[in-house]
Amino acid sequence: MNAPAKSPLAPSRRGFLAGAASLGFAFTLGDLGGVATAQAAETSGHAIGYWVTINADGGIQIAMPAAEMGQGSSTGLAMVFAEELDADWPKVSTLDIATRADIYGNPAFGGALITVGSKSIQGYWDKVRLQAASVRRLLMQAAAAQWSVPLAELTTEPSVVVHAASVRRLTYGEIAAFAVVPAELPAVQKSELKPMSAYRIIGKPVARRDIPLKVDGSAKFGMDVQVPGMAYGTILRSPVEGASPKKVDEASVAAVPGIIKIVPMKDAVGIVAETIEAAFAARSALQVEWGAVDFHGYASEPALVQFVERAKKTSEAGLPYVKTGDSDTAFTKAAKIVTAEYTTDYLYHAQMEPINITASVNAEGDGAEIWMGTQSQSAIIGAAAAILKTKPEKITLHPHFLGGGFGRRSAPDMVPYALGMSKAVQRPVKVIWTREQDVKAAKMRPMTAHRLEAAVDEQGNVTGWRHRIVAESVVAYSAPERLAQAKGLDPLTLEGAKIDYEIANQTISYLREIRGAPLSAWRGIGAGHNKFAIEGFADEVATALTVDPVAFRLQLCKSNPRATKVIKTVAEMAGWGDARPAERAVGFAFGKVVDTWTAAVIEISLDRETGEIRAHRAWVALDPGIAVNPDSIVAQTEGNVVFGLSQVLKERVTISDGSVDQTNLFDYRVARMSDTPEIHVTVIPTNNPPSGMGEAALPLIGPAVANAMYVLTKKRFRNMPLIPQRVKATLKDNGSV
C-alpha cells in the first residue's frame, strides 16, 4: 500500500562532499539525487518512511546503512532503532546494506555512506533514534485515531500499542496494515527520546545477526559473487607507485590457455581470462616494462633517519596543531626537561580477503553494476560515475560482507581496473587481486618520527609539553583538497595526537613530509602511531620523576572522572604493583581513542637470546558511554589486543627503490593463535552518547608493551615495531636511555 514517504532528511550535496572529503577521498560525486529506489520499499511489508517495513505478522525490517566487516554495527544499529521503536527484538531483521546516501548517509560524515573511524553507532545515534521515534509516534497516532482516544493515553510495549484505560491492544503489525503514512513522518524532539534507564534492548549482550551465516560458509563476501556470463580478471599493478606500463609483452602469456584479453591501464595491466586460475597464471608469466617515476628513488629506512633529524631540528617550528598556554616560558623556567624521539614504520592492512570487485559495464558504456564489499558505498558509486562520466543513478552497487576492512576498503582505488576490464571485454568481470598484489599495492599507515619534550618545575609538576610529528599526510594522498581545507593539518595523520593530560602549556606541531608513499587510514588511524610516542614518553617522564606510571597518569587526570575510573579499574584488574613471576613485567598505557576512554596493561616476557617478546596477559578497561551491545564491545576489544600486539611485535612494511619489499603473509607476518595472551576486558558503561569501539584499545597495546620492556630491561624501546633484531640491538646498546 504505502509508497515510501518522501524523506524528511533533505539531501545536502555540499554537506555530503565535505563529509566524504573529510575522510580523505578524492573523487567526483556527481548528482546524488535518487541513486537507488528506497530500499525499505523492496520487501513485502508495509513501508513506514524509508527506514522500516512492518509485516502483518509483526516482522520488522530495518534499513542498514553501515557495512558489516565484523565490528557488529549491523546488529548494533538495529538494536538502537528497535529500542526507540519499542520493537520486539526477536521479530527484527535488517534489510540489505543501503546505497542511497541522501536518505541513509552518516551525519558524522556530512551524509556520506561510509563505515570508517568506528563512527557508525556514534554518527547514527541521533538520526536512527529520531527516525525510529517518528515511526513509533505514527503507529501510536494511527491507533489513537482508530480507538478515538487521546494520543497521550497510549503507551507501547514491545511491538504493541496499549490503551490501558480501555484494556485495548494493537500490534505494530496490525496497525501497519491500516495506518495511512503521510509524506512526512511526525516529528519527534530529541528531548522526547527514551532515557537510558528505560532501555530494554540496548546494554544487554545480544547475539549478532550475521554470525550464523559465518559458521557454515553461507555468508556472501565480495569474493563469492557469481554473475552469469562473467569472466575473471586480475591485475599486475606497477610495483612502483604511479608508474605506467611502457611495453606489455603479450607473447609472454601466449602459452596460458583461456586468456581473453590483456588490458593496459594507467598504472596496471589487466588480465581477463575464462578462469581465475588462468588469470593468475598469466599474471605470474606476464612481462611488462614500466615507465620511470620519481618514487623509484624512495627507500623507507634512510627516509626514517631523515624524518628523525627533522623532528630534532627545533629551529623549524612546523604547523601548530595544538597551542595552549605558553610552553616557551614553561620550558625556559623548567627545573628539568625530559626529551625523547620515537618512530613508527609503515604498515599494511593484511585484511583476510584480498581486494576484489565484480563489475559489469553496460553496452553503451554509461552505466555499471558493481558487486563488492566496501566501507564506502558513496565512494564506490561516486568513483564509478566519475570514471564512466555518468550519473550516480546509472551505477548499481550490490554491497556484500567485507572480509576485513580496517581502513583498506574505504577508498575506491580498485574501481577503475574493474570497469576498464569489463568495458574491454563487454562482459561482467570478477576481478580478484592476488595476495602478492594486495601486499605490493599496500595503502599504508604512514611512517612517523616524533620528538617529545616535557618541562617539569621544582615541585615535580609537568608544566610544559611539546610534541613534533614528522610524517606524510594521509589525506594528501587520497583527497588533496581536504588538506587545504584543514590548513595543512592532516586530520588522519594527527588523529590521537592531542593529549588528555592536565598540562597547562602545550605545543603540538606537524612537520609534513612529501615523499609520495601510498597511504590510508589503518585500524586506530593516527592514534596508532601518536599514542605509541605519547604513552611511551609519558612513562619516561614518570620514571624521570620517580613516580609510578599509573599514579603519574592519575595525577595528570585529576579532574577527569571518566579517565580516572578506567585507569583505576585496569590497575586493579591487572594487580598493578603486585609481584610478577621472574622475567615477567607489566606496562601501562592510557588514552581517549575515538572518544572512548581506555586504559590497558600488558604482561610480557622476553627471550634475551632471540629478542622475541611474548605477551602473557592483557587487561583493558574502557568507558564507551552507553554500551549498545556489550558482548560486541568485548569481542572488538579482544581483537584490538591481538591486532595491537601484531603491529608492535611483528608488522612492518619496508620500501626499497620505490617498491614494497614484502610479498605475502610469510614475510609480512601477523599475530597467530600462539601469540595471543589471556585477555580480560571490563566495559564501564556511562550515560554518555556511545563512542567508537572498533579501534579503541589498539593504539595502547604498543606503548604498553614498550613500557613493560623498560621494566624488564631498563632500556627504552622507542621504535615500533619491536622486532627481534631491534630488541637485540637495543639490549646491546650501552648508551643512555
Partner: protein
C-alpha cells in the same frame, strides 16, 4: 586440460580444467562452493582449509591432477543442518567477526577433534596455529573448541 573424477561433500563430480589448477579454485569457482576462502594462495593462512580423505588440507596447495578418486569435504558439507558441535559452539561463543577466516578455522578444528576428542589448550593452539584470523578472534576460537569438546 584434463578431466578428474572425485567426490565432494559425498557427491561425485567430474571436473575438466588444467591439471595444476589449485583445488581451491575448483571448489570455489568451478563448483561454486564459496564457503572455502582464498587468503594467500601460499599455504600461509588456512582460509582455504578443507578435508581431503578426512584430513585437513590447504586447498590452495592441492592440485586437480592429484584429486582422482579422493573425497573432499568443505564447510558446506561439514554437517547437514549447520549443526556440527563446532558450529553450534562457534555461535554460542559469538566467535566470528568479519567471518572470512572462519570456514577454514572450523574445518581445521573439526580435524583436531576427529583425531583427538579431548585436546589440551596447548594441543589446540599447536593444531590451529597455521590458521590466521586477522580480526583476532583467537580467544573465542579456543573457547568454542573447548565448548564443543564439553557439549559434544
Amino acid at each position: 586440460m584434463m578431466t578428474v573424477d572425485f567426490k565432494i561433500n559425498g557427491k561425485s563430480v567430474s571436473i575438466s580444467a588444467e591439471p595444476d589448477t589449485p583445488l581451491l579454485w575448483v571448489i570455489r569457482e568451478h563448483l561454486k562452493l564459496t564457503g572455502t576462502k582464498y587468503g594467500c594462495g601460499a599455504g600461509m593462512c588456512g582460509a582455504c582449509t578443507v578435508h581431503i580423505n578426512g584430513r585437513s588440507a590447504r586447498s590452495c596447495r592441492a592440485q586437480l591432477q592429484d584429486m582422482a578418486g579422493k573425497s573432499v569435504t568443505t564447510i558446506e558439507g561439514l554437517s547437514a543442518a549447520s549443526d556440527h558441535p563446532l558450529q553450534k559452539a562457534w555461535i554460542a561463543e559469538q566467535t566470528p567477526q568479519c567471518g572470512y577466516c572462519q570456514s577454514g578455522q572450523i574445518m581445521q578444528a573439526a580435524d583436531l577433534l576427529q583425531k583427538n576428542p579431548h585436546p589440551t589448550r596447548d594441543e589446540i593452539v599447536r593444531h590451529m596455529d597455521g590458521n590466521i584470523c586477522r580480526c583476532g578472534t583467537y580467544p573465542r576460537i579456543v573457547r568454542a573448541i573447548e565448548r564443543a569438546v564439553k557439549e559434544g
